[in-house]
Amino acid sequence: MTIDQVFLTVFLASLLGFGGLGSLPVLRGGLTDHGIAADPLILQSLAVGNISPGPNGLYLIAIGYFLAGIAGAGAASVAILLPPLLVLVLERVRERLIGKQRFRACLQSLSLAVVALLTVSSSQLVLHAARGPVTIGLVILGAVLLTLRVPSLVGVIAAAAAGLLLGL
């Protein structure tokens, strides 16, 4: 992918996603449209993004790096920075908007749609990654560790050790 394409793909995913991994369904669709095998790329980026400090959404920077190196990471960084600037506009108009039922309904509806889409995307990632009993166990381990707020690095190190020792 060119730098422009990386920027646009990450920007659209970020703009249309609410919350940490809310960007994932649109990103997955955008990558697939460009003929890229999205699932392995996203799984690598999630692994890197989750052991990095800061918000989970920064996995998009890892996507940028895997697609186009340092320049891709730079393009992705700019792309994820632009949508949050809308908070300055929202701050000005929120007194008028927050009381409007249709505005609140739109936010709730879009959030539910994003979570539903994310459920499908996550299931497809699981299907891609879980190839046997060991990897199925590791998927469950990853979900449990993050839910219990155990640092992601612990899960990544445990997985690498399991991969080395047990084979898959």
Partner: protein, 207 residues
Amino acid sequence: MRGARHQPSGQTPSDRHWAAVLMAFARIGATAFGGGSATIAAMRQTCRKHGWLDEDEFLDTVVLSRLTPGITILAQALLIGRSVAGLRGMAAAIVGMMAPSIAITITLAWGYVRISGLPGAATPLAAIAAVAAGFAVSLALQLLRDVLRRDRIVRGALLYLAFLGLSLLINNTLVVMGIAAVAAVIAPNLFSAREVDDAAPEADDDH
């Protein structure tokens, strides 16, 4: 936002030192391992420590940032930085938070690429991918919990199931989101109570 207008001791935002914002957010960007909840907790602690925002003002930034598309924590950092030191504070908060995170993420991604080229690396990397898929499941469940908390749980759960069915039927993310937006405009009562609910969401969301 109240925080943006809050000027203790008669100071204007430009009187405050934006460098303090830069340093504080750089510390958060470099050390807040654990995703959104860890980052929000660190920002809250920083605001208390420096006396930048009181609890209500901090929650105000949480609510506003939750309405914003994209990475909501970046929106919150913008609001906090601006309330402390105006435009320079905004820039300092974003640069401070993003610079260490970007550097660490790129370094890790670089290491991942190098390791993936080594003989025998495929198996441990496949194991790491499996754990990452588990992370995605956990984050999706956390997001679902947060969204359902905002309104009546049963109604939210039924609508979620309806959208899930739609997502499985229509293999196009943008079309599903378009349908969601149109449905909310046509039938807002389905998605939101008529009266305004000002209850602030809890500040432990993993965004």
